[in-house]
Amino acid sequence: MNDQLETTRPDPDTLLNRLKQEEIKSTKGKLKIFFGMCAGVGKTYAMLKAAHKAKADGINVVIGIVETHKRLDTEELLEGLEKVPLKELTYRETVFKEFDIDAILKLKPTLVLIDELAHTNIPGSRNVKRYQDVIEILQNGIDVYTTLNVQHLESRAETVKQITGTTIRETVPDSILDQTDEIELVDITPDKLIQRLAEGKVYTGESSKQAIQNFFRKGNLTALREMSLRITAERVDKDLRTYKIEKNIYEVWKSGQRLMCAIGPSPYSSNLIRWTRRLAYSMESSWIAVYVETDQKISESNKEILTQNFNLVKELGGELVVTQDMSVIDAVMRIARENNVTQIVVGKSRKSKLQRLFSKNDFIKNLLKKSDDIDVYVLGGERIEEKELLFDVKAASHSSISKYFIAAVIIYLVGVVSYIFQAQIGYQTVSLLFLLVVAILPLANFGIGPVLFTALISALGWNYFFIPPHFTLHISKPEDALMFVMYFIVASVTGTLSSKIRIQQKLLRQREEKTNLLYNLSKKLSAAGNLNDVADAAIKEIENVFNAEVVLIFFESVKKLKAKPHASSSFAFNDAEWAYSQHCFINKQKVGRFTNTLPNAEATYYPLESKSGVLGVIGVSVSSDLPPSFDQEELLNSFISQITNAIEREYLNELAKQSMLSTESEKLYKTLFNSISHELKTPITTIIGAVSAFKDEKIFENKSILQKFMSEINIAADRLHRLVENLLDMARLESGNLKLKLDWHSAADLIHASIERLKDESANHKISVNIAEDIVFKFDYVLFEQAMINIIHNSILYSPPGSKIVVEAVQRNQQCVINISDNGTGFPDEVLSKLFNKFYRIPGTKTGGTGLGLSISKGFIEAHGGTITAMNRNTGGAVITITLPMK
């Protein structure tokens, strides 16, 4: 282990984690716990005093809930602090008062006092435990003062029970201490406390004096006091270490310890877990809990205990590893090596000495043999009153009594047939027949018990009925004796091997099935091309595989989910369920049915958490009343993580597309800007150039030169004017506020007027008009004229001098159709579709011109409900066709 080099540098991951914590902490409220060894030391009193001081400092303090236990000194301190009214909840016909979390969240005080952190809420409350409420309040940026006794800490509950003899029912997980910003120990000597008790300052009235006397013995109190002092000291040490890291004060740091405990479906495992956690906490190392699934079936009640143990591991902040293997030892060692475990924690065997002696599978013995350089801690355990739970014979269906019976019957049948034909086949071959049976049985799902049983009775049967002398177990020939022994050995070995193979096969198949399901999901998600399809595929897959109703809701903003779930959802959603899903979204944790938070929900809600944030929530509702098995839960989690990835992928795709679009529009903007600058500059340069030339007397006196300049000024001014008009037209079209002034006009008038306006520009072109009979209809004269001018001007500009331009108008089917054709070079084919786009200029044309003319024409014509198209004529040149509905 080359840790020497690493010891002086803090682990970058740790630092990163710390930074993340800091970040999270800064937006969260601060939690201060008033900690004490037991009831009556004065925690609530101290809390109230601190609250008063805070109020005096100007902080907005309210009381969420405070239990005074009718102690006078405490009650006095309630005066002067604002109390948030309690919520009343009815349970089993009694009215209870709980603190109103919603009222507090709405009120948003700076600081709220919530007594008794370990309290369990009345059913019907949002969270099962009060500490969950406190966490929620903290996440909303509100500071909290609370009180806690040492006995309420999960990891200490057992120890306190040992010391005092009373069972602790209400606990909080130790991880709450990690979220605490400050712990204030309220300490008092045991003598003083006993005195206070005698003075009636702790409990008033006759409440169970005997029990209290038992609890408040000096020995107990001293032990409790030591515990609470020690916890506070641990905490201070941790703070000191944190401080040192941040200030870069190096010292010998962690050498990367890692603990592992092996757990199973036994209540003893919970002790193991807590102990490991405590050890890990003080060693500042991470810890793993490993559960090895073997072929052993476990009963329903054991499954529940197992799930509870799993949840405990997660609650206490450990990493849970589940693996399948034939041998528990091998699996444990494998996981230990894969995860660089330095210490393994196990519990002492509960079997009696005698049992252990005969058991080939003594866990600890084998573990010690195989553990190499990994330390093994063996915890002493006390006897648990509950039933022993190692082998639950009833559930082992592979080894049920019926199987033994069937095996016996088969052997009997084979025996009978063999007996009948023994003359032909001989007694040695009979053994092979029996052997065949023994080898085949495991394939028919017979457990190893029945198989070995079959081997035994077939051997005995064979001996008794077939080996001479018949009907005795005695064997006369020595070679027969050898055969008998060999048969028995071979049968046992074969049977055992077949069994093992069968089991492996089954385990493999299970794993394969799981992988297949995940693969299928993954395929379907990859095939989905957009967010909708992904959602659809996700919902359908979960429905199919888990036989459940599913709802999927995407996020609306960082703080809220969309109001409506995705269309493919099958689950009937209502407001209450939406509220639950919102809770899941905000708190980024699994809530709902079968969990500790909001357990009355119809469905269980899982957050879709990704690197980009929480993308939404999936709610799963199964019809059965049983919680999902661990396998199913694991599989569902894998599904959800895949789905989250797919959604994140689509979401990022969308963002990329949008970003590309905005880049495109920026390019367009730049093009426009450059083009307009240029268009403006040229006529202005001409005008200024011309006018500045007049300073020169020679020029000024020369009439013909003067006129030439004047004409240029004129042309330039016109050009500026047209540009400005175009820009204004474009702006009107874009604004959407175009109002048509419809009136009856003659199309012929309009066409002639437009051509007249282009007199100068068309000097080198021949424009002819062809209108059969006059077409009169309603249109906006000004707009339509502008459209016509733009189009005809365009034809002039882009056909060579001398070209002919023909404007025709006819009436056809209630429509006015106008064709403007030229015999120029026509448009390149790829250009035709883009011609009417804003700012589009045919590549390679001269500078000058903004590319707006035709798109303005299109805009105006479409405002009339008409259409405009461009085509190349097969006689050469191009034609632009306008159709307008005649109303």
Binding site: G689, A690, D696, N702, K708, F709, E712, K846, T847
Partner: protein
């Protein structure tokens, strides 16, 4: 003159060409127009102009490449037309071999003056040993500089600087050109030297050195000695 000076105008904008033609023809220049770089080079080659006016924003070719190509075979003065706020382009063009510049929109008289200056420069024979500009006179042979008939004492560097500007009167000289000519190629980046010396020179020859009449600053580009006649 019996033989008119020929000017080739290379600009893609019809109106600009028109304006320039009118002005130049009024000043008795013969004008040849070209719409693009390719055409322009051809015209320059075939008509042997005395000056080329080149717009930097040509559609088919980069104006700079036109300058480069022309300079491979001709020393004809080139005045470039540029847009405002493009000092970098102007300096680049001048460094590539253009002789002067004017920004659009331009003052036609100013342009005519620059054209005159640039054509004259090339036609001027180098044996003119007396230079006169306004009230300033330089006797190159005797190395005497006088202003209003009074002798001005200049240091050697100041004299060289003044002479360089005088020999290129009416024409803009870039910072780097001046630095290279007077301080050598390795000093091309030291424009602060130049600023200091120009300042000193101005103090000596200008009536009011804060409002210089002779040595004008072309912001971002260089300096020019104006032709005061």
């Amino acid at each position: 003159m019996s033989v008119k000076n020929t000017v080739v105008i290379i600009d893609d904008e019809t109106q600009i060409r028109k304006i320039l033609s009118i002005a130049l023809e009024a000043e008795e220049y013969k004008v040849i127009e070209a719409e693009n770089g390719k055409d322009g080079i051809v015209q320059a080659a075939t008509s042997h102009p005395q000056l080329v006016i080149l717009d930097l924003g040509l559609p088919d070719r980069d104006g700079f490449s036109v300058i480069k190509e022309l300079r491979t075979w001709t020393a004809v003065p080139i005045i470039i037309l540029s847009v405002r706020n493009s000092e970098e382009d102007i300096v680049k063009a001048l460094d590539l071999g253009a002789d002067d510049y004017i920004t659009k929109p331009f003052n036609t008289s100013e342009l005519l003056a620059r054209i005159r200056a640039n054509i004259r420069r090339t036609q001027q024979s180098d044996d003119g040993s007396i230079f006169t500009n306004g009230n300033l006179t330089i006797d190159f042979a005797a190395r005497i500089v006088t202003k209003d008939k009074e002798e001005i004492k200049l240091t050697n560097t100041e004299y060289l600087l003044l002479v360089l500007l005088a020999k290129n009167v009416g024409k803009v000289l870039t910072h780097s050109y001046i630095l290279k000519e007077i301080w050598g190629p390795s000093s091309v980046e030291n424009s602060q030297y130049l600023r200091v010396f120009i300042g000193q020179l101005r103090k000596k020859i200008e009536d009011d050195y804060s409002k210089p009449e002779y040595i004008v600053t072309e912001a971002g580009v260089g300096y020019r000695m104006r032709n005061l006649g």
